[in-house]
């Protein structure tokens, strides 16, 4: 089961590797990202960022969905990562067991960031991403923004009000 599906531009990085894997108590990390699955250099940096003792799988989004639905994983707490909202939406629609979706860091470092819709200090979305996020927020799964565990969980629906 997915203990948390996190949307983060940077996939595995300092906040994620040390802080969240500890907080969520997840022995397995799955990066669901088509680019990473096909790029050995990106895979290398992701492996480097994975804490000692944690297992890592890097898969295309479609293959990751198969991993999440594998009956062998039903008892395993998995921390899933995508770097965009569209991929998270696809996973959310195709995987049953997801405890929560954390839309954490999106668009902060995009080149056209100033053209986007700002939802919070860490969420800067394009119109298309906004549409996908609205769809995500309507699913029957808690969808929230929480960059680090000491932040409060802000429901995405409350950030979307009036947008």
């Amino acid at each position: 089961m997915i203990a948390q599906l996190r949307v983060d531009d940077r996939l595995i990085h300092g906040q994620v590797a040390l802080v969240w894997t500890k907080e969520l108590n997840t022995p397995g990390i799955v990066v669901a990202n088509d680019n990473a699955a096909n790029n050995t250099m990106v895979q290398m940096t992701l492996k480097m960022a994975t804490p000692t003792g944690k297992k890592l799988l890097i898969r295309t989004v479609d293959d990751a969905i198969k991993v999440f639905n594998n009956p062998k994983g039903s008892d395993m707490r998995i921390f899933a990562l995508t770097n965009n909202i569209e991929d998270a939406l696809k996973i959310a629609k195709n995987v049953k067991e997801i405890d929560g979706i954390n839309v954490a860091n999106v668009g902060r470092f995009a080149n056209d960031a100033n053209k986007g819709v700002q939802l919070s200090s860490t969420l800067m979305l394009s119109e298309q991403e906004l549409t996908s996020l609205k769809e995500l927020a309507e699913l029957d799964i808690p969808v929230f923004n929480q960059v680090v565990p000491s932040n409060v969980k802000t429901p995405i629906k409350s950030l979307l009000k009036g947008k």
Binding site: Q43, T52, K55, L57, G73, M76, V147, V148, S150
Partner: protein, 155 residues
């Protein structure tokens, strides 16, 4: 000298006991490290700092106050082995029970201690130190090998 967070909370977000942490350095390394930890974890307020020699004040009193007021076990991180800050800390902490002094400090070890939930013994802090070493980043075969299999993942 900049002193931060004289009033520390003893509980983390889960309500478990946390190790109290003081970082003492030459200049702003200590407060800079605290700033990095705030960005990474949001827990910068759990770290006390001494930025020594940025003005003329005597920081010895702050070391003594930390040792007296800290819930033990507590850890004092210093920047440089044998440096004056480290010497002062060691002199004050010697023979004090459950005050650990760690030197040659890096970001990884302070975060490891901060995020740790186990009771801090000498052996355990040594394990954390062993996992937090500076290292040369190099590409070896295991890192360029293709993805691990699903089977290994679920084992």
């Amino acid at each position: 000298m900049i002193i931060a967070n004289k009033e520390m909370k003893h509980k983390d977000i889960k309500g478990e006991n946390m190790t109290e942490i003081l970082v003492a350095s030459h200049g702003h390394f200590a407060s800079g490290l605290k700033n990095s930890i705030e960005i990474l974890t949001g827990m910068g307020d759990k770290i006390q700092t001494i930025d020594a020699y940025v003005d003329q004040s005597d920081y010895t009193k702050q070391i003594i106050r930390f040792i007296e007021n800290a819930q033990h076990p507590a850890v004092i991180f210093t920047d440089l082995k044998g440096g004056s800050v480290n010497q002062k800390v060691v002199l004050e902490a010697v023979n004090k029970k459950n005050i650990f002094v760690v030197t040659q400090t890096n970001l990884a070890i302070v975060m490891a201690v901060l995020l740790d939930n186990e009771k801090l013994t000498r052996d355990h802090i040594q394990d954390l130190i062993n996992q937090s070493q500076v290292e040369l980043c190099q590409i070896d075969d295991s890192q360029t090998e293709s993805n691990d299999s699903d089977g290994d993942f679920f084992e």
